[in-house]
Symmetry: C2
Subunit: 413 residues, 2 copies
């Protein structure tokens, strides 16, 4: 059955999440489908940052560490994130980058499984997760760490007595495919292995229940669906049952049991705080906290329902509007198996993304041929999906993307 724009207008009118759009400062004339890469600016964040800059830094200066509780930022952000990922407030903390946090927790997990050296992941996982384990393996040597990449349908079968850790990104950055977190965690546990889940494309985008899945460790990113701002600090999760045993090697002063005692000997803080390392970037972490406050207000079941609906509609509309020219679908067609993005493949993918950006439809490109469109339900409207698909069809129909100005690659896309 053909979908009409009027259908989508009705969906917008009935959308319980529609009011959230006003919480963001979205530029006019832009359809922003790249919240899976960088979430937009929340209005409250702008105001809060002005206050942090002018009053907390400018007026209160060093006293803000206590008087404005800068020192509490990592735990406060962690508690807000916990509510989005099925964790307790004292199981999550904001710190460093996703990369650094992968290193911390992969090292901690390996130390908890002496005699085992294999970290299993999948080829094509987000590269930094693999790179950090490679760095750990280079540091510790092949006797202590081996990174083993296994295609996703063979992961369960790859669980064996030499596996210390299963490291996966819950929602694949390129395809949006969702792993069965509970099933794979159970498979890992069945052989005595631990799990480390990268929630970069999950947190804030769909319900995650680390507790129900019995996950051991997790990390994630603050600047995508959590709308924490460019390069926002990341987070990490350690299940409470592991908090006493888990020791991470980046044992900086902020993770010390008494940071301001200035002892020569490191003593890890109790609980999740031992996973902090250096001084947190206060401006960036403040922006993260404001983004998280918005996410915490949304009903994640509504978010997920709208996200699947937006994705389903986009898939249908691309096929309806583009006809036989339609780029082929890379993401799972079944919304339940797909995160909050739709990825398409086309040989001219880079140029098509550039042509769409020139029309105000912002998605992104991932080599070699993938067009990614993020469907962040807090600010993307159903009609935006119609308009985006219509622009895509128009680009393909006119061959607009073949213009030279859209062909030249920039260093970063």
């Amino acid at each position: 059955m053909t979908i009409t724009r009027a259908d989508l207008e009705r969906l917008d009118a009935d959308d319980p999440l529609a009011p959230f759009r006003d919480r963001f400062d979205l530029p006019d004339g832009v359809i922003y489908l790249d919240g899976n890469s960088l979430g937009p600016l929340p209005r409250a964040t702008r105001d809060r940052l002005r206050d942090v800059i002018d009053r907390e830094w400018g007026r209160d200066l060093i006293r803000s560490w206590t008087d404005n509780d800068w020192i509490g930022l990592p735990a406060r952000c962690g508690a807000l994130i916990a509510g989005l990922i099925g964790a307790a407030p004292d199981e999550v903390v904001a710190a460093d980058s996703t990369s650094v946090n992968v290193f911390k927790l992969a090292a901690a997990a390996l130390a908890m499984r002496p005699g085992r050296r294999v970290v299993v992941s999948e080829p094509g996982n987000f590269p930094t997760d693999l790179y950090m384990v490679q760095g750990l393996a280079d540091l510790l040597g092949p006797d202590r760490v081996e990174l083993r990449l296994v295609e996703r349908d063979l992961l369960t079968a790859a669980m064996g007595p030499d596996v210390a850790l299963l490291l996966l990104t819950h929602v694949h950055y390129k395809t949006g495919a969702v792993h069965d977190m509970a099933g794979l965690t159970a498979a890992a546990h069945a052989v005595g292995a631990l799990t480390l889940w990268d929630l970069a494309h999950s947190a804030g985008a769909l319900p995650v229940d680390l507790t129900a899945a019995k996950a051991d460790f997790a990390v994630g990113c603050g600047y995508k669906y959590l709308n924490g701002g460019p390069g926002a600090p990341a987070f990490l999760y350690v299940a409470r049952r592991h908090q006493e045993a888990a020791r991470q090697p980046l044992s900086g002063w902020m993770g010390h049991a008494a940071p301001f005692a200035f002892d020569d000997r490191y003593a890890p803080a109790p609980g999740i705080a031992r996973h902090l390392c250096g001084t947190p970037p206060v401006l960036s972490m403040t922006a993260l906290e404001e983004g998280l406050k918005i996410a915490a207000e949304a009903d994640l079941a509504q978010v997920r329902a709208k996200s699947m609906r937006l994705g389903d509609l986009f898939v249908s509309l691309v096929e309806q509007m583009c006809g036989p020219e339609a780029p082929h679908l890379v993401s799972p067609r079944d919304g339940a198996l797909r995160g909050s993005q739709v990825s398409l493949a086309h040989a001219d993918g880079y140029a098509i993304v550039q042509a769409l950006i020139a029309r105000g439809v912002i998605g992104d490109f991932r080599a070699p041929d993938v067009l990614r469109f993020g469907m962040a339900p807090l600010y993307v409207r159903h009609t935006d999906i119609w308009d985006a698909a219509a622009h895509l069809a128009e680009v393909l129909r006119t061959g607009e993307h073949r213009q030279d100005r859209f062909q030249a690659r920039k260093a970063v896309t």
Copy 2:
């Protein structure tokens, strides 16, 4: 000879650095002597951050990575820092925290000295430097790393054939005592060891010449004398002669030779860029860049001359005004051996610092008994030093600090 306030007014009138004070947004009624812990807000930073928040993030969104060159921030900041520490622009990059950077470079140095396992530092060094090496030692085991703490007058004698790395903070965080960087580096090199200098209390405060000292590695902090804002990203230096050999274990995607190729295999970027790890916190790093631009305009010889003069005056005025009640001097009396701070010891140090803060004189306290007063020459006036010493004398004379409200310790000072 007795110093008068009129003497200091004359020094302010003749101060070539006096115009820099207007570049900072200092609160009224405050004498800020804690720039060694958190530099104040530069006026340009406030404006730049508004533009980054409203336009670069809010309007340009994801395109800012290229169009506003967010991706170039770590190198741009690095090049500005290089000019302050006697390095070439391509030998320095801004990244992560000082703690994380110590880990990277200590690991890199150990790998470059196979068969040696000793990292020499001094007891009472800034704790996080020691903690990071302890974390590395716990990870690699005692066969590969031993942290050996040696009192500072025995450091040269402690250099031996088992030493891989000498790790020291150039200006001691608590006492302000300055190490002989060139001499100690030569002593380390004489036995085949490498050096890693922590410049947290040096960069921007006094001339540092890593090249002349033949230093191998360095790290430092962005939020003290570089005025980069609370928790600003840190930096690291790798001498060009080591850049090919130096491999650090936190091998994240931003340090990859081709981050946006999304290969499964890590391949280090050429040069200093391989020491990047995850996505940089753009808001915090933008603030750092603005602070650095101001530091880059100042003549470091003038900065050093004024810093020593301020410190000498403070030492003299405390003794002149406080008489036999004067807290005793912890820092070297010889300005040439002292960084840009004066540290005093007093059994009631904590309460005295609190009483001074209540009077608008902001220094800080370091356990067990040290009062620190930072003399950042870009915004501290000679008359501020007079006034600060006068307040200290008045607090001691009246016993004001014995009031209950100044005695109760806060969790963070």
